[in-house]
C-alpha cells in the first residue's frame, strides 16, 4: 500500500485514525502494529515474512547485546551480518547475477529473479540502528517483542523513511499524547506532502519518463528539460513522502525528525547532504563514518572513509552500477570540496548555488538513467550545446505546456513557506484567527486538488484512432 492510493486515503487511514482515538491508550500500540502489518502486507502478503524475520533478528540482537557479557559485540556483529545478508539477498542478488552473467551465463539462465520487499533498505537500517544504539547504551533494549515490531514496522515511516532512531522516540513510545495542535499540524503536514507527491512529483515524473525512455529523441533541449523535470520529481516525491510520514507520526503522537531542509538552496555539496535525506546521511555518519574514524585521521584514511561511506550510500540507493558510480561521484566531489576548493565557491553564494545545482543535476542523470552507458550518452548530449530546431521545439513545448507546474515547482524549492510563516510571526498575524482560517482553507484546497488528481490519473481513454 502507498500513501497516494485510493485504498490508503479513503479506507485505511480514516479507519485507522478513527479506531486509534477510540481505543484506550494501552491498546493503541498493539492496534498500530496490526495496522502497520496490514499496511505492509496489503500488496504482497508473503513479504511480511521478511519484515517479521527482520523484526525477530533485531529484537533478539537487542536483547542479547543489552547485557554486560563479553559476547555482546559478537551478538551485535552477528545481528548486523544477518541484516546485511538479508538485504544483500533481496536487493542485490539479481544485480550480482546480472553482473556475472557474462562470465557465468548458465547461472543467469537458471536464476529466478528475487522479488524486492518494499522498504527493505529502510527497515533494515532502522533495525540495525536500534541494535547498535542498544549496544552503545544509548537506549535500553525493549523487552516486549511487539514493541520492537511496532518500532520497525510503524507504517508512517516503514516504506520510505525517514529512518527513525529509536532513541528519538523512546520516551513517546509508551507515553505520548496526540494534542489537537499535533493532530492539526499532522494533518496539514500530511496534505502538503500528498500534494507535493500527487500534483508536482507525478507531473514532473511524466515529463522525465517520456524523455529518458526515448534515447533516439535525445537532443540538447530535451535532455535539459528532462533532467530538470527529474530533479524536481525526485525532490517532491521523496520530500513529499517524508512530509506525509512526519504528519502521520504527529497524528499518532510521534515526533519524527526532518528529512529534507530545502536542499536545492545549498551552496555546496557538503551543505546539500546536510539538507537532503538527512536521516540517511546521519545514519551513515553515526554508524559507518565515525566508527571508521571520521575526519580525525590522516588524510589518506579520511579519503578512504569518505569513499567507503559514499560507495555504500550509492549501493543503498539501488542495485546497479549507475548507483555505485553515483555514490562514488559524490564521494569525489566532497573530497574536492574539502581539500581543493575548500568552500571558496560558497563564499560567492550565487556561484556556489549554481555550481551545486549543476553538480546535483549531473548526479541525478546517473541516478535516473536506465544504465550507466545511457547516463554517459545523456550527459554528452546535455553538454553538447548543439542547438537544433527540433530540440528547441521539444524544450519549449514541455516548458509552455507545463508552465504552471514549473512555476510552482521552481518556487517551491525555496523556503517560501518558512518566509511566509516568519513574516506572519513578526507581524503578529500567526496566532490570529484569520491566519489560521487562510491556512486551513489553503490546506483543504490542496487536499481537494490532490484527491481530484488521484481520481483523474486513472482516466484512460481507449480510442481507436489514427491521425
Amino acid at each position: 500500500m502507498v500513501f497516494s492510493s485510493y485504498v490508503f486515503l479513503f479506507i485505511f487511514l480514516p479507519i485507522v485514525c478513527g479506531a486509534y482515538f477510540i481505543l484506550p491508550a494501552r491498546a493503541r500500540n498493539c492496534f498500530l502494529l496490526i495496522a502497520s502489518l496490514f499496511f505492509y502486507g496489503w500488496n504482497k502478503p508473503l513479504l511480511l515474512v521478511v519484515l517479521m524475520f527482520s523484526i525477530a533478528v533485531n529484537y533478539c540482537t537487542g536483547r542479547l547485546v543489552d547485557t554486560k557479557g563479553r559476547f555482546k559485540k559478537v551478538y551485535l556483529i552477528a545481528g548486523i551480518v544477518i541484516n546485511i545478508v538479508v538485504l544483500l539477498y533481496y536487493k542485490y542478488s539479481n544485480f550480482i547475477v546480472r553482473s556475472i552473467s557474462c562470465l557465468f551465463p548458465e547461472i543467469a539462465t537458471k536464476w529466478v529473479p528475487v522479488v524486492l520487499p518494499l522498504g527493505i533498505s529502510f527497515f533494515t537500517f532502522q533495525g540495525m540502528s536500534y541494535t547498535i544504539d542498544v549496544y552503545r547504551g544509548d537506549v535500553k533494549a525493549l523487552k516486549n517483542p511487539l514493541d520492537v515490531a511496532l518500532y520497525i514496522s510503524l507504517f508512517p515511516q516503514l516504506v520510505a523513511g525517514p529512518i527513525v532512531r529509536f532513541k528519538s522516540i523512546a520516551e513517546e513510545f509508551h507515553n505520548r499524547t496526540s494534542t489537537i495542535d499535533m493532530i492539526g499540524y499532522g494533518f496539514r503536514r500530511f496534505v502538503y506532502g500528498l500534494s507535493k507527491k500527487i500534483i508536482l512529483a507525478d507531473t514532473f515524473g511524466e515529463i522525465a519518463d517520456e524523455i529518458f525512455s526515448s534515447p533516439n529523441s535525445w537532443n540538447f533541449g530535451s535532455t535539459w528539460i528532462g533532467i530538470l523535470a527529474y530533479t524536481l520529481q525526485i525532490y517532491y516525491d521523496f520530500s513529499g513522502y517524508s512530509d506525509m510520514a512526519i504528519g502521520l507520526g504527529s497524528f499518532f503522537g510521534f515526533h519524527f525528525g526532518e528529512n529534507f531542509n530545502f536542499p536545492y538552496i545549498s551552496t555546496s555539496i557538503t551543505e546539500f547532504w546536510h539538507r537532503w535525506h538527512i536521516s540517511l546521511s546521519t545514519w551513515f555518519r553515526d554508524y559507518v563514518y565515525i566508527p571508521l574514524g571520521g575526519s580525525r585521521v590522516t588524510i589518506t584514511r579520511h579519503i578512504f572513509n569518505i569513499m567507503v561511506v559514499w560507495l555504500l550510500t550509492g549501493a543503498w540507493h539501488g542495485a546497479d552500477w549507475s548507483f555505485i558510480v553515483w555514490g562514488i561521484y559524490y564521494g569525489v566531489l566532497l573530497l574536492i570540496e574539502k581539500y581543493i576548493i575548500k568552500n571558496r565557491l560558497s563564499i560567492i553564494k550565487p556561484l556556489g548555488w549554481m555550481s551545486t545545482i549543476l553538480l546535483v543535476m549531473i548526479g541525478w542523470v546517473l541516478f535516473r538513467a536506465d544504465t550507466l552507458s545511457h547516463a554517459i550518452e545523456y550527459l554528452i548530449i546535455m553538454f553538447s550545446f548543439k542547438f537544433t530546431h527540433v530540440g528547441y521545439i521539444i524544450f519549449m513545448r514541455r516548458l509552455v505546456n507545463y508552465f504552471f507546474f514549473w512555476l510552482v515547482g521552481l518556487i517551491g524549492i525555496f523556503p517560501v513557506s518558512n518566509m511566509i510563516t516568519e513574516f506572519a510571526s513578526e507581524k503578529g498575524y500567526k496566532n490570529g484567527v484569520p491566519y489560521a482560517i487562510i491556512e486551513n482553507i489553503f490546506v483543504m484546497v490542496l487536499l481537494g486538488l490532490s484527491i481530484i488528481t488521484l481520481i483523474a490519473n486513472n482516466y484512460n481513454a481507449f480510442i481507436y484512432f489514427q491521425f
Binding site: F10, V390, F404, I452, L454, A456, Y464, F467
Partner: protein, 371 residues
C-alpha cells in the same frame, strides 16, 4: 470518506462511454489472488473506476488543466478554436526512409488486392481521403508547427507510386482540403457525414466516368436533413480530457427521400437496426459502428455491388451506398478474422474500394489477413 462509502454501496458501472473502455469490476478474493497481490491491485483499480463522483471529478480536473493552460495531454494538442489534433501525426523530418516506411506497406496491401481483383474480374479502387490534421494543419499551435507539412507529400508520393503500378486511385484531397464547409469534426478525428458525402460523390463520379456506370446520389439539399447530438464530444476531445464545456461539433446527416428497402446482415446475422441509429452514441451511430462484416442487400440486380475495406471512415459511405448500389459489403480488417482475398473470391463483387489504408502501417497483428 462519505463519497468512498457511497462508492462501495452504489451499483457498479460497466462501461465508460467517455473513455470507450470497460470499467474495472469487483473481483472476489480467494487465497491465490490475495497472496499474489492481484486482488489488491484490482481493488485499487476498481475503487478508482467506480468512485461515486468520478465523472464530476474528471470534468473538474480537466477544467482545472484547461484553466492553467495545459494544452497537450494524452497525445493530443488543442489547437486554435478548440480543435483537437493528434501529436503522432506530426512528422517533422522527411527522408527516403520516412517515405518508404509510409508508402511501402500501403502499396503492398493495394497490390495484393489489385491482384485478386484482376483474378475475379472486379475493379479495385484505392480511395484516398486526407487526414484531419492536414485539413487543420494551420490550427496547430505555433510550437507544434515547423513550417512544413510532409504528410501531404507522403500521400502524394503514395498516390503516384500506386498509379505507376496501375492502381486506380481516387484522391479526394482537392475536394476536401479546399472545402470550407463543415467536413471534419473539431473534436473527433473523423470527417463529418458532410465530408463523407463529398467523398462519396467524387467516388461515384469516378466510377461513372471510368467504368461507364450510371450511379447516382441526390444532392445534399434534396435529401431529408437531420441534426442530432448538438455539442457532440468527439474521440479526440475524450482522449484529451473533456471538461464539460460545450463543443462546436454536432452530428448531421441526410437520407434520400426514396431510399430502397433493404436487408441488413451484421456478421452474418440479420439486423433490424436502422442504418443510422440515433439512439446509439455518436461513435456507433452509423452502421452500428465498426463491424467486422456488414452486408446490405436491396434486391436491385441491375445495379453493381460494392465492397468497402477499411476502418471507421467507411461507416458513413456505407449508408449512402445503400441508395446507389444493389449490395453493399464492408469489411473492417481490425475485426474481420477471415481472409479478405477469399471474401472477394467468394462474393460477387463489382467494385472493391480500399478506404484510406492506414491500417497497414506498423500494426500487422490486429489486421486481418489480406491473403
Amino acid at each position: 470518506m462519505l463519497s468512498a462509502a457511497v462508492s462501495l454501496i452504489k451499483t457498479d458501472l460497466e462501461y465508460s462511454i467517455d473513455e470507450n473502455r470497460f470499467l474495472a469490476q469487483f473481483e472476489s478474493p480467494n487465497f491465490h489472488n490475495v497472496i499474489d497481490g492481484t486482488w489488491e491491485d484490482n481493488f485499487e483499480s476498481y475503487s478508482l473506476d467506480q468512485y461515486a463522483l468520478r465523472s464530476k471529478v474528471l470534468k473538474l480536473y480537466f477544467l482545472l488543466l484547461d484553466s492553467i493552460g495545459v494544452n497537450e495531454r494524452n497525445g493530443i494538442v488543442r489547437g486554435r478554436e478548440g480543435i483537437t489534433l493528434g501529436l503522432n501525426s506530426l512528422r517533422n523530418e522527411n527522408s527516403q526512409a520516412t517515405e518508404d516506411n509510409y508508402v511501402i506497406p500501403r502499396l503492398d496491401a493495394m497490390m495484393v488486392l489489385q491482384s485478386v481483383c484482376n483474378e475475379t474480374g472486379c475493379k479495385f479502387i484505392s480511395l484516398q481521403i486526407p487526414y484531419k490534421f492536414d485539413y487543420y494543419a494551420d490550427y496547430y499551435p505555433a510550437l507544434y508547427q515547423d513550417g512544413k507539412n510532409i504528410n501531404i507529400l507522403l500521400q502524394d508520393s503514395l498516390t503516384k507510386r500506386a498509379r505507376d503500378n496501375g492502381i486506380d486511385v481516387v484522391d479526394t484531397s482537392n475536394e476536401l482540403l479546399n472545402n470550407s464547409e463543415y467536413v471534419y469534426y473539431y473534436t473527433d478525428h473523423h470527417y463529418t457525414y458532410r465530408g463523407a458525402y463529398y467523398v462519396y460523390r467524387e467516388l461515384l463520379e469516378h466510377l461513372n466516368e471510368t467504368y461507364q456506370e450510371k450511379l447516382t446520389f441526390p444532392e445534399w439539399g434534396d435529401c431529408q436533413y437531420h441534426m442530432i447530438h448538438e455539442y457532440f464530444v468527439g474521440s479526440g476531445l475524450k482522449k484529451f480530457g473533456y471538461s464539460g464545456r460545450k463543443t462546436k461539433d454536432h452530428v448531421e446527416y441526410v437520407i434520400p427521400y426514396n431510399m430502397p428497402s433493404y436487408l441488413r446482415l451484421e456478421n452474418g446475422a440479420v439486423s433490424n437496426i436502422p442504418l443510422i441509429n440515433e439512439t446509439r452514441n455518436a461513435y456507433s451511430m452509423f452502421m452500428s459502428g465498426d463491424m467486422a462484416n456488414t452486408i446490405v442487400r436491396t434486391d436491385r440486380p441491375q445495379l453493381p455491388t460494392i465492397l468497402y475495406i477499411g476502418c471507421s471512415y467507411t461507416n458513413a459511405l456505407e449508408t449512402m451506398s445503400v441508395y446507389s448500389f444493389d449490395e453493399m459489403h464492408s469489411l473492417d480488417p481490425r475485426h474481420f478474422r477471415g481472409s479478405i482475398c477469399d471474401y472477394i473470391r467468394n462474393h460477387d463483387i463489382d467494385y472493391v474500394v480500399l478506404v484510406r489504408n492506414d491500417l497497414y502501417e506498423g500494426n500487422p497483428e490486429n489486421i486481418a489477413s489480406i491473403d
